[in-house]
Amino acid sequence: MEMYQGKGMLKTLSWTESGRSVLKLNIRHLWLLGVWPLGHSQVFKVYTSFTFAMGVWSVVECLLAVYFTWGHLEETTLVLIFTSTCSCAIIKLVFFLRDERSYSLMVREVASVMAAQSEACRDPALAAILRDSRSRAFRLSLGMLLFMFSQCFIWFPIPIVANAGERRLPFSQHGWDNNSHFYELSYTLQCLSGLYMSQISFGLDCLFASIMILVAAQLKILSGRVLKLNQEVIPPERNDSVLLRNQLAGDKYRDKFYEGLCFCIDSHQRILRFVTLLQDTMSPVAMAQFASSVVIACMALFQATYGEDLSAALKCASYLPIPGGQVYLYCWAAHSVTENGESVSVAAYSCSWVEGSSRSRHALRTLMARAQRPLVLTAGRLYPINRAAFLSLLNASYSYYALLGQMNKRSMKDLASHN
């Protein structure tokens, strides 16, 4: 953050600015949900606080429901799934509101990093990488958000269809009055907050995933540029022409190599600076997501396998891919950033440095040394986000699930012995 201060870059994003960005879809989506303020509008602040209040109310409602159903493992876990989703979204929202400026900065920086390398993207192969990454980020965000939205059609109507006449609420039941008061209002409110919270949570994940995809593509383009350095020079021929070239024209073409390398290093530095910013902004959000995903996954798995209520089992089975997908999104995208960062070093080694001047070789070596240090993004500065982290989270989730299964068995046994 500090390095960007005083550049006038720490301003709120405006509506027109968001339209020009590559991340238009993600930004506008978050704007629609009342998260991302575009411009300075008082009405929007009211809207944001409404969203926030709705989320807080859902969490409180859920906690009350948990209190009233305590001891019934099956019902409690079902409520906890929703609680965890909501509180995760609330935490993310809080972090967003705190770091709103650095989110805007991030959007601007993505644009500037991409602009810095756009010159090089005249090459058709590199242009293809850029185009591919943009369309992939867009498709991924759109697909994931629509998939999340499709969950609404499973969760919202089930209480009306499956438990008609029982006055059930979609997420948490009001144990204190058996859903007798304000049934319609509570139903609408729960649906609305469910929609908002899940979309906010997923929208932020998609934003980060898109940014990481774009950064990975930028690193890939950089590798391509480094690899192509000096390629226009004719390969050394045998005989004396080489000698002549070395003596006369040598300095000129070698300096060209050095210049090209310097441009590449400049782009590399920009990308690295951006990754630091991304890391600072993303780390708490990713941590919140990891923690809640583990809880949600084990609860949903528990419901889907041990649950006796068929509709609940169906709901949870359909919901299972969501927490897994959210975590995988982070892990996969961050892993590809790391991987492409390391490939810069290999590309530097693979370019034709043997013919370069000694100063360009020194520069190359420094570039390699930096690129070899893996660009690891972390969650809460605690977990490195990579594929191994994904596997370990799955493991953690499974072991909690096994624990829940044991608890369930024990409580069943207790019930049987009482009878």
């Binding site: 000698l243 892993h335 080694y349 440095w353 070789r361 190359l364 390699m368 070899q372 594929r387």
Partner: protein, 481 residues
């Protein structure tokens, strides 16, 4: 039809076997259409038997013991089937990897060392192919013979009384399968037996040949790295002459020439057997044998220069070397770097071609080994059951061990390139040589490795963790019993 060259020529027996086994390898020989027909026939046979096995698995899923045994068999044969399909889909990547060494640079000073290590790798690859093929043949034979031992019955629920079980005769076939015809006797039995024998051989060959090809690539990469390490030292000494006047240049060159050379490996014995195919490859390269020839080459260059020193553009430089000698040394460094880059690229290609197959392999193997650990707890005496469970266990572990060993060797060889670069006399070398060593050391900080679609790296650590997991699981099951 063009003559095979590069890696394809080195692996020619293996390539032939891969083609005869029915893999979709349509390149490298004429008659593409015929080959395609053959491959499709083989694919049909392979898939049909596998599907029949799956049908059997579903039909007999009532009994837990039988379910576990059938699942192991199905998973065991899932390897060959996936590898067969994988190769058919990704054959382009395989061709690309095989074509990596079609055009590689060479240098007169190091042609001998290169030829020697190339020969060594060819010998090693062929030996490995021989071993694995014989082990495969052995396992087919033992699998077939074990079906004729012990009694061939199974217990099924009595149709009259649900609480009783009766024993039922099972046809003596290698793999329990459902057939649409009666396979218990007569023509049906003969047909089923021959079909299964063919199928067993073909599928085991399919998967093992793929693994062997992967291992051969790794062997080749390792030998190239060893070659690079060996020429590092003379290279540094050569480059030391570049910088300034070294008083005893000629002595230095003589000292370099006393380096040990393993000439017999290249000239005699093994060379004769493989000579037919090898000669074709080497004919294009100039035959320098031994470093004494190499320094001789340098000194002939020097004499020639001395002869025409006055007239030639080069002349003797300040370092006492003629321009042409200098060029020779420069090009030697370039040769080294280009060769190393080529190895790096080759390893990248290998990972692209085979990484995903390794991931699939490991996924299936993990499940199979878990089930096998469960089956192993039920062993209580030395009988057919024990032999077959142990056979499965060792075969599956052996498959994993095979590629882990070679993956590990690659990691070791590539990381020791840095040690080789550091341990030679780089401090005497020219500035150019020092930067060169620096960059090489920097690159070698990260060793070359093969990863299974980036989820794991192929090394002995992987094997140890798989083995450890199986043993732990086995212990837990024994405790629970």
């Amino acid at each position: 039809m063009q003559k095979p060259h590069g890696l394809v020529a080195d692996l020619w027996p293996l390539i032939r076997m891969v083609q005869y086994s029915g893999h979709w390898m349509l390149e490298y020989s004429g008659g593409k259409a015929l080959r395609a027909i053959y491959s499709s026939a083989v694919s049909l046979l392979v898939v049909t038997q596998f599907a029949l096995m799956a049908v059997n698995l579903i039909q007999r899923s009532g009994d837990v013991n039988e379910l576990a045994a059938n699942t192991i068999t199905v998973l065991f044969f899932l390897h060959p089937v996936t590898k067969f399909g994988y190769f058919a889909v990704r054959s382009k990547a395989f061709y690309r990897t095989l074509a990596t060494w079609n055009q590689s640079n060479s240098h007169p000073l190091f042609a001998e060392s290169q030829a020697r290590f190339h020969q060594l790798s060819v010998v090693r690859m062929r030996r490995l192919v021989m071993y694995v093929v014989s082990v495969t043949a052995l396992s087919v034979v033992s699998w077939t013979s074990i079906t004729f031992m012990g009694d061939s019955t199974r217990e099924v629920t009595d149709p009259d009384n649900a609480n009783e079980t009766i024993t039922e005769e099972v046809p003596r076939l290698m793999i329990s399968t459902w057939y649409p015809f009666d396979a218990s006797s007569g023509m049906g039995y003969m047909l089923a037996f021959v079909y299964q024998l063919y199928w067993l051989t073909a599928t085991l060959m399919h998967s093992n040949l793929m693994d062997v090809m992967f291992c051969c690539w790794l062997i080749y990469a390792c030998e190239q790295l060893v070659h690079l390490k060996e020429i590092m030292k003379p290279l540094m000494e050569l480059s030391a002459t570049l910088d300034t006047v070294v008083p005893h240049t000629s002595e230095l060159f003589r000292a370099a020439s006393t380096l040990p050379t393993n000439e017999p490996l290249y000239d005699a014995g093994n060379g004769a057997a493989d000579g037919l195919t090898i000669r074709g490859i080497y004919s294009s390269q100039r035959d320098f044998s031994g470093f004494n020839r190499r320094s001789a080459a340098l000194s002939t260059v020097r004499e020639a220069d001395a002869g025409g020193a006055v007239s030639s553009a080069g002349g003797i430089g300040p370092n006492g070397l003629s321009k042409r000698q200098e060029m020779l040394v420069r090009s030697a460094i370039k040769y080294w770097v280009e060769r190393h880059k080529h190895v790096v690229r080759f390893v990248g290609n290998i990972g692209d071609a085979y990484g995903a197959a390794l991931l699939l392999h490991m996924l299936t193997t993990t499940v199979t080994l878990t089930l096998l650990a469960y089956q192993a707890t039920k062993i209580d005496s030395v009988d057919v059951y024990a032999a077959s469970v142990l056979g499965y266990l060792f075969y599956t572990l052996g498959q994993v061990f095979l590629f882990c060993v070679f993956g590990n060797r690659l990691i070791e060889e590539s990381s020791s390139v840095m040690e080789a670069a550091y341990s030679c006399h780089w401090y005497d070398g020219s500035e150019e040589a020092k930067t060169f060593v620096q960059i090489v050391c920097q690159q070698c900080q990260k060793s070359l490795m093969i990863s299974g679609a980036k989820f794991f790296t192929v090394s002995l650590d992987l094997f140890a963790s798989v083995l450890g997991a199986v043993v732990t699981y086995f212990m837990v099951l024994v405790q629970l019993k």
